[in-house]
């Protein structure tokens, strides 16, 4: 079997009716991983296959006995390699953490396990989640299952590509400025950045703490909603996790959009957006109107500062978050004659170029004499953007637009132009700056046969509306996408 042949609901029903077994699912995932290893490079580490099959068999046996099982029982899930897993290593795709084995599981991983999910392996990513192409990985770039000459997006490129290529049913990614949604868009899968605080960050290795959120990836909206409900909720180990009940997301997927008020920011469909992308998104918006939503245009002028504000704050936080990698307590340690040598050489050799660039930028933005001009004014911009964007939700229930200005670009195309790479985050960073929830859903393919993602942003805490709109988009565009060249193994 191939995992891409089935929707999430078909898989769950297949397991319940025992037409499918967990053994089948894990076997199919391992086979797909095996056949794509040289082409896609989606995983940094795979769990022991015998152990995985043993776990799958145990679930199948429990089901045969009639045991009550969790909502993800026996389902293979891929986990981004910046989310702590005990015994599986957690590298952040960095030489710095090549041999780091965390003595604990992230809260999201613990909840995944409690729901019966089987962690199949740790996925490739941009080093420390810094990047939009998955090219900044110590383990080499992951590639896009739709075209191996193109990037899968980033930083959760491995998770998005693994789900698209049928190497896992579900995946966890992390989204700091679009790192779940953009690769989901590039790979034709669904990716969610929940409300800030909805999912515990305990065990998520920090990049920019005030933006970071773990987010689910799935081939369809319902799969993403189920995974979100499993891993979301208050956690005493994360002081920033929301102390409120998780709303019903799965039931919202089929609710429809009749009566919903949607807005499209003017600049989201401007000349910077590729015409192929614009056409697909406009078509999806038209279908939403046809399904009963009203659509209006939004000005949101402060969004022009979003990318600058995001990079200044994110890199400032990163410069402190990554200070712990000093060669003393854990991680890569270079031999040196004295203490400063240990610090300088461990960091010099352990971090890749992009990470060092971010640390330099962030350190600069916080330095005496520059802090007011950069970090402080970026915080001010963040406050303006937040009040403007969240204020818009007085008038609309959701904001719709493209995930990225382009479809997946070619490997190596932008790696030497970091500014162009940063600017492509224009549509995704507003949700992170404001704490709002957002989802990326496929809305068809371009004439060149590449998937296009549409984004739905909703007010904080309002994930049900987000899933309702996403479900409608998915149904109207004909259901989940399958990459044409993959899966024939």
């Amino acid at each position: 079997m191939r995992l891409t042949d089935h929707t999430f609901r078909e898989i769950v029903r297949g397991l319940e009716s025992r037409e499918l077994s967990s053994r089948d699912l894990v076997g199919a995932a391992l086979e797909a991983i095996h056949s794509h290893t040289d082409t896609l490079n989606t995983f940094i580490r795979i769990a022991d296959p015998e152990q995985l099959i043993g776990m799958a068999r145990a679930v199948d046996d429990a089901r045969a006995r009639g045991d009550v099982l969790g909502p993800l029982a026996g389902i293979p899930v891929a986990v981004k390699d910046n989310i702590a897993t005990r015994g599986l290593g957690t590298t952040c795709a960095s030489r710095m953490l090549e041999s780091f084995d965390p003595p604990y599981d992230a809260t999201a991983v613990t909840r995944l396990g409690a729901a019966g999910g089987i962690v199949i392996g740790k996925t490739n990513m941009d080093e420390f989640a810094m990047g939009s192409s998955n090219e900044h990985s110590f383990y080499g770039p992951a590639r896009n299952p739709w075209d191996v000459g193109r990037v899968p997006g980033g930083s959760s490129g491995g998770s998005a590509a693994a789900v698209a290529a049928g190497e896992a049913v579900l995946a966890l990614g992390s989204d700091t400025g679009g790192s779940v949604r953009q690769p989901a868009g590039f790979c034709g899968v669904v990716g969610v950045k929940p409300t800030y605080g909805r999912i515990s960050r305990y065990g998520l290795i920090a990049f920019a703490s005030s933006f970071d959120q773990i987010g689910p990836l799935a081939r369809d909206v319902e799969g993403a909603a189920v995974l979100l409900e499993v891993i979301a909720g208050a956690d005493h180990a994360d002081a920033t996790s929301l102390r409120m009940a998780v709303p019903e997301c799965v039931t919202a997927v089929t609710r429809g959009v009749a009566g919903l008020r949607l807005g499209v920011p003017e600049r989201f469909l401007g000349p910077d957006v590729d015409s192929d992308v614009r056409e697909r998104v406009e078509l999806a918006v038209t279908r939403l109107e046809r399904a009963g939503a009203t659509v209006r245009s939004l000005a949101l002028p402060s969004l022009s500062h979003a990318v600058a504000a995001y990079y200044l704050i994110a890199d400032a936080e990163a410069s402190a978050n990554l200070a712990r990698y000093d060669g003393v307590g854990f991680g890569y340690r270079a031999a040196a004659a004295d203490l400063d040598g240990v610090f300088e050489r461990s960091r010099g050799e352990g971090f890749g170029l992009e990470v060092k660039r971010r640390i330099m930028l962030g350190t600069y933005a916080l330095s005496a004499g520059y802090r007011d001009r950069y970090y402080a004014s970026a915080q001010e911009a963040r406050r303006c953007i937040t009040s403007e964007l969240l204020g818009a939700f007085d008038e609309v229930d959701g904001i719709v637009g493209p995930v990225s200005p382009t479809v997946a670009f070619g490997l190596g195309e932008r790696v030497s132009d970091p500014l162009a790479m940063y600017l492509s985050d224009i549509f995704t960073v507003p949700a992170n700056l404001t704490g709002a929830a957002a989802i990326s859903v496929p809305c068809g393919t371009t004439s060149g046969g590449l998937p296009v993602g549409i984004q739905v942003i909703v007010d904080r805490f309002n994930e049900p509306t987000m899933f309702a709109v996403a479900g409608e988009i998915e149904r109207a565009s004909g259901g989940p996408l399958v990459p044409p060249t993959r899966g024939a193994a």
């Binding site: 989310i83 702590a84 957690t90 952040c92 953490l97 780091f100 965390p102 003595p103 604990y104 992230a106 960050r201 305990y202 065990g203 998520l204 290795i205 920090a206 920019a208 703490s209 005030s210 005493h236 180990a237 994360d238 002081a239 920033t240 400032a316 936080e317 410069s319 402190a320 990554l322 200070a323 712990r324 990698y325 000093d326 003393v328 307590g329 854990f330 991680g331 203490l339 400063d340 610090f343 350190t363 916080l366 330095s367 005496a368 802090r371 970090y375």
Partner: protein, 489 residues
């Protein structure tokens, strides 16, 4: 030219919480290196801090005790610098929005009233400890990482070394009496950093230098003497003071300038994104205000004025509010045991607390707090004091009875009989002893009769020896005199 010292302090007190400030590790001094640690206080990737509310409460109690204004909202900040004992590469502290501001302390130094104002009080985490082994590698112990600290920053308002030491002693006393800290200086429970400059003609401010790591009042005095002499010599020689930070070496009794790299000047403070603001409602502040006990200064005055204690004795008892309460309970009880002179009650009880009780604690290797309480209820001590005052016991016997009273729960009257401590006042009984002593010392008796009156003391001593210290010395003296006269006539 006269130059006045201008001195300020940063006081660091370890808060007496059960667990560390951001994790559940026990807050206990010492232990095998690196055993009281967890992913949070080791700063492992993915671990997150969660604030210990008790640390906030103790901080607020301290703030209220020194009349500082508690902020209704305060926040944490990251202070970045690299050092091996700082596992995250930043310290979580408070910067521009501290727990409390203002307040101050009035102390009495050399008979003058001295006022020291505070700029702020905040809470933060302690760092680990380095063990430098000359010529070999250095070791680091992370047990102290995450121990909660209260930092009090004073204004530079002290103008003499004596005043500075009196201030340091008094702030320690206050924090200990509030239960905020153990105050054990040899364990690093309270540590002082000081800044000192010499004001020029007309009070023109000088350049301050900082001295860190002052762990005893003696060090504070010596370090200030040292530094003031140094600065005076430089200025008198026409030189200028360069700002520097010195590290006090307790063993060598010298301060050494820190390497410029250790003395990072730019800490790149920014708000800690992992922790929500601390909210202190006025209700909560009022609840905590009720926990602020009578401070040592007020207790000293009261013991002097209400109980007639000498200043020195009052100072010893006032240092510990539990001892004050015990003292007052004993004073109240002693009257009900027939101690008739109300003016003498206080001094008598105080004398026992400061003298014999401390002697007993010392002899048994106990702390005073171990004795005061169930081991020796205040009423029991009061009964003993009354027995002594009423002449039922000699001083020697009373001290012996004190030891038995702590070891046993039997009534004091039983113990007196059991150990034969009752004072011998029966004249017939004593006459026999006196007669035998006089028989044994004819020489001395003869000299007494010739007018050498001091021999009364010697002969009384011999009677006391024979009776095991139980004889009533006044009656013995009378009997000896009478016997001497009788033989004369």
């Amino acid at each position: 030219m006269t130059r006045t010292p201008v001195i300020g302090f940063e006081v660091h007190a370890q808060l007496a919480t059960r667990s560390k400030i951001f994790c559940s590790c026990a807050n206990i001094v010492g232990g095998e290196p690196n055993t009281r640690v967890c992913p949070v206080c080791l700063g492992l990737p993915g671990a997150l801090p969660v604030l210990n509310d008790r640390a906030v409460e103790l901080g607020i109690v301290a703030a209220l005790a020194v009349d500082a204004t508690v902020a209704d909202r305060s926040s944490f900040a990251r202070k970045s610098y690299f050092y091996p004992d700082l596992p995250k590469g930043y310290q979580i502290t408070q910067d521009t929005r501290p727990l409390a501001t203002g307040g101050g302390l009035d102390v009495e130094s050399n008979g003058r009233a001295v006022r020291v104002g505070f700029s702020q009080l905040h809470i933060e985490e302690d760092a680990g400890k380095m063990l430098h082994r000359p010529g070999r590698s250095s070791l680091v112990d992370m047990n102290r990482c995450g121990v909660p600290l209260l930092e009090i920053v004073t204004l530079p308002e002290l103008t003499s070394i004596d005043d500075a030491v009196v201030f340091a002693e008094e702030i320690r006393r206050i924090l200990v009496s509030c239960g905020v800290t153990s105050g054990r200086m040899h364990e690093g429970g309270i540590r002082f950093d000081t800044n000192v400059s010499l004001a020029g003609e007309g009070g023109a401010p000088g350049t301050p230098c900082e001295i860190k790591n002052l762990n005893s009042f003696r060090s504070i005095r010596r370090a200030l003497e040292h530094e003031i002499d140094r600065q005076r010599a430089v200025l008198d020689g026409g030189g200028r003071i360069a700002h520097q930070t010195l590290l006090w070496d307790e063993r060598e009794g010298e301060a050494h300038p820190m390497r410029s790299k250790e003395e990072a000047s730019d800490y790149r403070y920014f708000r800690e994104p992992d922790l929500p603001d601390i909210i202190a409602s006025s209700e909560r502040i009022e609840e905590l205000r009720a926990l602020v006990p009578e401070l040592p200064g007020a207790a000293r005055a009261r013991l002097r004025d209400e109980h007639g204690l000498a200043a020195e004795v009052a100072g010893i008892i006032a240092d510990d509010r539990r001892e004050v309460a015990y003292f007052e309970e004993a004073v109240k009880a002693v009257g009900s045991f027939g101690f008739d002179d109300p003016v003498e009650r206080g001094p008598a009880c105080a004398r026992w607390l400061v003298g014999p009780l401390r002697g007993l604690a010392h002899a048994r290797g106990l702390a005073m707090e171990d004795l005061l309480g169930p081991r020796l209820p205040a009423a029991r001590l009061a009964e003993l004091i009354a027995l002594r005052a009423r002449g039922r016991l000699t001083e020697t016997a009373a001290k012996e009875l004190l030891g038995h009273a702590v070891d046993s729960r039997a009534p004091l009257t039983d113990l007196i009989e059991q150990f034969g401590l009752r004072q011998l006042s029966d004249e017939d009984e004593l006459s026999t002893v006196v007669a035998s002593v006089l028989d044994a010392h004819p020489e001395e008796l003869a000299r007494l009769r010739r007018g050498e009156d001091k021999l009364i003391r010697f002969l009384t001593g011999q009677v006391m020896k024979k009776t095991g210290g139980r004889a009533n010395p006044r009656i013995v003296g009378e009997l000896i005199r009478a016997a001497a006269k009788r033989e004369d006539s």
